[in-house]
Structure formats: C-alpha cells, structure tokens
C-alpha cells in the first residue's frame, strides 16, 4: 500500500494525536472518583498518558514542520513518486472503503436476515467486489459458505447465531 510522505505523515499523526489527547484529557478529568479512591484516583494515570501523547504529538508536529531533515529529503522523493501514480493510490483507498461498506451492511443485515443468509451474501458480495465475476461461482460460493460456517459454529460449537426474521415469518 502506498503511504504518504514522511513529513506529511508526521504532521497528520501529530495533529490527530494532539486533538485526540486533548479530548481524551477532558474526558478523563470528568471521571468521578468514588469514596474508595486512592491518592492517584481513577483519572490520574489516564490524564498522565493523555499528557504524554500530547507532548509526543507536539514533537511530531514540529518534526513535520522542520525543513531539511532526512525525512524531508525522503518526503520529496516519496511525493514525486506518489504524484506519478495518484490514481492507483486513490483506487486502493476506494477499494478499502467499499469493502468496509459491505462489512458495515453485513452488521445491519445480520439481525434481520439471520446468520446463514447474511454471511452467504457477505461472502459473495466481497468476492464480487474484489474481482470475482463468474456468476455461477459467486452463487455457489454464497450457497456453500453460509451453511458450512453455520454447521461449524451453531451446530458443532453450539454458538447461537442470529436466526433473523425467518422463524417469525414461517411460524406466522
């Protein structure tokens, strides 16, 4: 996977880390101590770690802003390389985002469609999205994946998987 330049990565990591650590410290300071609290308190260590992260993030930001470092030299080369094929990088992230959407759809569908149908559809959808194009193979893959995994988990390992709306439909 093509990443971003060193300086940009340091800046993004530093800024993200700084914002997150400030929010984290504010959240930690809102923790209420109980009567059983020790001298450090429930918020003591989290606040300290938040402070450490803020400090390290600030150094990372400075490192990203300082010119002339080795990372800056490497960054120039990497940026040149990245700009040579930006479409490939964008496509990679779009594919990852698409895969994530399919997985998120599975989370929503699971309680409704039940495990066997949902996981079969998940497998077929991912395979199609990743480049599988033979319809018959995709259907076969979905039909086999759901029941096989259900047999392993629900039947053999006794892990109860969601049945979905089907029992209610057929019972009615």
């Amino acid at each position: 996977m093509s990443g971003i330049g060193d300086r940009a990565a340091a800046l993004v990591t530093g800024c993200g880390g700084l914002v997150f650590s400030v929010v984290y410290i504010l959240a930690a300071r809102r923790i209420e101590d109980s009567l059983l609290a020790d001298p450090v308190g429930a918020s003591g260590v989290p606040v300290a770690i938040g402070g450490l992260m803020a400090l390290v993030s600030t150094v990372l930001i400075l490192k990203g802003l300082l010119p002339g470092s080795r990372s800056a030299t490497r960054d120039t080369a990497q940026q040149a390389h990245a700009s040579a094929r930006p479409a490939a990088s964008l496509r990679t992230h779009a594919l990852a985002g698409g895969l994530l959407l399919i997985l998120a759809a599975y989370l929503i569908a699971l309680p409704w469609l039940g495990y066997v149908v949902a996981v079969g559809l998940l497998a077929a959808a991912i395979a199609w999205f990743a480049g599988g194009r033979q319809t018959s193979v995709l259907i076969g893959f979905a039909v086999v994946t759901g029941p096989v995994l259900w047999l392993v988990f629900d039947f053999a390992l006794r892990v109860r998987m969601p049945a979905g709306i089907w029992p209610t439909l057929f019972a009615g």
Binding site: M1, L36, V45, L107, A123, A127
Partner: protein, 493 residues
C-alpha cells in the same frame, strides 16, 4: 528436569496432540498465503479458542506460529513471494534453486532446517524460561510496575524506525486498556454509558481488527500474486552428504535465532536475514550465495523457526510479548484468564508444560504434514484472491461474533480495522499499541497499589531492589534503542 517430566506428561493428552497437528496444518496453509503473516493466521483462530481447555488453546495458537514459519517458505521458493516476512531471506536462494529445477530440494531443506531450528528453540525455551520466572517470583507490586515499564521500554525496538510514532501508538494502546472499570475504585471510565464497554475492550478484538481486518482492507487493493507450478514441485528431503553441508548454516541459524528471539522486537525476519548474512560470512562457498545455495535456504529457515520458541521466553517468564505472534499468544492466555509472567508457573504449570509438550509435537507435526501438504498449499496459493479475501473475512466476522454473540463487537473490530488501515497509511507501528494494551492494566494497577502501600511516596520504586533494577534495565534499554535510532537517522558525513 521437572520441566521435562511435566512436559512429557503433557504429551499424553490427545487434545494437545490434536491441537498441535491442527495448528501446524492451519499455520502452514495460512503461512503459504502471501499477506497472511503468522500473527494473522493466529488472530484468525483466536476466537475459536474461547471454548477450548487453556492448554489445548495455547498449544493450538503456538503450533500455528510453528507451521506458518514453514508455510511462508513455500511461496517464497515456488513463486518468489514470501508468504511471511521472515521467509523473505529464503527467497534469495530458494527461488534460485527453484529456477534451476531444484524446488523440491529447496523445500526439503527448508522443512528439515525448520525442524532442527524448532527443536533447538524448544530446548532453549524449556531451559531458560523457568529460571527467569523463578527470579521474577520475588516481585512486589512496585517490581511488577517496573516490569511493565521494562516491557514498555522495548517500544523503541518495536517502532520500525519511528520512536515518536511508536510512542503515540503505545499511548493509544494504554488508553484502550483504561476503558472499563477502574482497577482500584471500580468506577467506570470512558464507557460513555455503553454497557458493552463496562468490562473493557477485549484485547482479542483489537488484535483481530489490527491484524486480520486491516490486512484484508490492504490486500483488496493489492495485485494478485503469481501462480505456482504443481507439476515441477515435488518435495525432496536432503541426503546424508547434504545434511553434513547444512550443519554449519543450521547451527548459525540456531545461534542467531536464539539471540534474536529472546530480544523483544527483533523477531524472525531480522533473525533470518542475520543468519543468512552470517552463514555466508562463515561459508566455504560464499560465492554460491544468491545463486541457489542450499546453505542460503537452511540458515534463515533454521533461524526463523528457532524464534518461534525463543520469542516465548520473555512472554512466559516476564509477561512481555516481544513480537506480533507473541502478543496474539498473550491474547490467547488472557482469554482464558491467565496472565503470562512469573506467576504463570505457580497458577497454571499444566498450561506451561503442556505448551512445551505441544511445541515438541508441533515440530514433529511440521515434518509429517510438511511432507504431504505441498499439493494442497499449491492449490491454495493458486485460488483466486477474491474468494480467499471473502472467505477470510466471513470467518473473521463469524469468529468475532461468536465471542459474545454481540453485533457491537463486530462494529468495534471494523472500527479497529479502519484505525489499523490509517496507522498503516501513516506508517505508525501497531505492535507498540498492542504492547500498551496488554501491559496497561499491569502498569496502572501496580503503580497505584505501590503508592497505596508507600503512602503516596514514589521512592518505593527505587528503594525496592528488584524494582530499581528493572527500572535501571528499562533505562539502559531505552537509551540503547534511542541511541541506535539516533545513529541510524544521523546521516554519515
């Protein structure tokens, strides 16, 4: 001697034997797939270990590690694509041998060298771990805190060249570890009113998300790997003359693997390349290296298989996971309510000795399965990538749901997968985060207990001799790795 006897007792368990064989089989298949590292192969199996007896679960996970190290060499030799990072050094001469029509010889050398390395590593593990753990038994809460700090001090070595990013990752891991009930007062922290977070975030979810989900998000954008030719690939074990030739590189691999394995952060990849380099330096035929030298296959394969056992020394004796795979194994211990470290030998000796016995079987299983697995591995490597990604993700989502029958866990594992993807993009190392996650409770709870004992005096960490020693060691380790980082970054004039 007790350890050996107890380990022998562990061999009697059918469950352990089955776990060793099953784990090695899964590990070889996983390792043979480029992109599936030993830690990912282990992480995929982690949810399935929940219902298993602890010894069987731990042996299963450790055996995956053993199998994956051999499995990784199969595509390295056949299609010039290392199945695991540590098989990268095997590509150099292994693929050259394959091009010369000696793929079977290379695979045979890889298998037997892995076996030699694995057995040697197991011997080191059995001899070194308990002695180290006995020393650690004298630990007070202050010493445990300092042990946690020592564990965190290896972050520099695990940061892949960026100490600052490693520190950010470690802080994130610690922050996740603080979610849930406070270890002293019991008040809820960072749960935001969600009942799903009261017991904290299980390390298994973070590990599966960071390793397996992230890898699939990355792999979907990567090109398909090359195809292996089944017709010309037949495994051939070395004859006696070849064994004699391989003795020296295997010994070098064993020595390097031992040193790198017990050093947190080094791992199998560094060991394999160092072993390759050293065996070339000490070889009678250094000119053959890079042109299909059998020694060039034997040394790295022996080294990375030694690491599968020796990397467990700091984990079992001190509770410090020094590699991704050791961190996943630690997750396996935690799932079963076992905390790796000195007390493990007191609380669950059966698990430790069962693990020793299981690793012995895993190495034997590697030889037996390795002799027959080549055809299925070639079949697997040649499967269309879209179906492999789909199958793996279906398995991951099912396994994570099976942990608590919770859709919340699925959402969490996806969120962690996205986090891991962003970390990969920004080149933030994930291992320090895992380290922070698994050591967070140890550090915080013992820090606060120590201060309760001392009445708030921080000097307790220096007046306790073990604690002071560990803190000094942590300081030395930090300075050493920091110095190494600085000297690498400083451009030579």
């Amino acid at each position: 001697m007790d350890a050996f006897l107890q380990a022998a007792g562990g061999l009697a368990s059918l469950g352990v034997i089955a776990a060793a064989f099953g784990g090695v089989l899964w590990g070889i298949l996983g390792g043979a797939l480029p992109g599936i590292s030993p830690s990912i192969a282990m992480a995929l199996l982690l949810p399935f270990t929940v219902g298993l007896p602890p010894t069987v679960a731990i042996v299963l996970l450790a055996s995956v590690y053993v199998g994956a190290e051999y499995g990784g060499s199969i595509p390295a030799i056949l299609i010039r694509t290392p199945g695991t990072n540590s098989a990268s050094a095997t590509v150099i001469d292994g693929f050259e041998m394959a091009r010369q029509g000696k793929a079977g010889d290379a695979l045979g050398i890889s298998l037997v060298s892995g076996l030699v390395g694995g057995l040697f590593g197991l011997l080191v593990l059995v001899l070194a771990t308990e002695s180290l753990a006995k020393v650690a038994l004298a630990f007070t809460p202050a010493a445990y805190f300092s042990l946690g700090v020592l564990g965190l001090s290896v972050i520099a070595g695990l940061s892949g060249g960026s100490l600052l990013k490693g520190l950010v990752a470690a802080c994130m891991g610690l922050m996740i570890a603080f979610i849930g009930s406070d270890p002293v007062s019991g008040v809820s922290r960072f749960t935001f009113g969600s009942p799903h977070l009261i017991d904290g975030v299980k390390p298994i979810i973070i590990m599966v998300g960071l390793f397996a989900v992230t890898e699939m998000l990355v792999q979907i954008g990567e090109p398909a790997w090359a195809k292996a030719d089944a017709a010309t690939s037949r495994l051939k074990l070395p004859d006696w003359a070849m064994w004699k030739r391989l003795f020296r590189p295997q010994a070098i691999g064993a020595a390097v693997g031992t040193f790198e394995g017990v050093t947190p952060g080094a791992g199998g990849t560094v060991a394999a390349f160092m072993a390759y380099s050293e065996s070339k330096r000490w070889s009678r035929h250094p000119e053959e290296y890079g042109h299909g030298s059998p020694e060039g296959v034997a040394a790295p394969e022996a080294a990375n298989n030694v690491v599968t056992a020796t990397a467990l020394v700091p984990l079992l004796s001190l509770g410090i996971p020094g590699s991704n795979s050791a961190a996943i194994l630690m997750g396996g211990f935690l799932i079963h309510g076992l905390q790796p470290g000195p007390m493990l030998f007191q609380k669950a000796p059966d698990v430790v000795y069962g693990l020793y016995g299981g690793l012995l079987f895993a190495n034997i299983a590697m030889l037996l399965i390795g002799l027959v697995i080549l055809t299925p591995c070639i079949w697997l490597v040649n499967r269309p990538k879209p179906y492999l990604i789909a199958g793996i993700l279906a398995l991951v989502m099912t396994g994570v749901y099976a942990l608590h029958q919770s859709v919340f866990d699925l959402a969490l594992v996806l969120a962690v997968g996205v986090l891991g993807y962003c970390m990969r993009l920004l080149r933030i190392p994930v291992l320090p985060m895992v380290l922070g996650l698994v050591l967070g409770y140890l550090v915080e709870s013992n820090y606060r207990r120590s201060l309760l004992i001392s009445g708030g005096e921080h000097s307790i960490f220096l007046t306790d001799p073990v604690s002071a020693g560990l803190l000094a060691l942590a300081l030395v380790l930090t300075l050493y790795t920091g110095f190494k980082e600085f000297s690498v970054r400083k451009p030579k004039a």
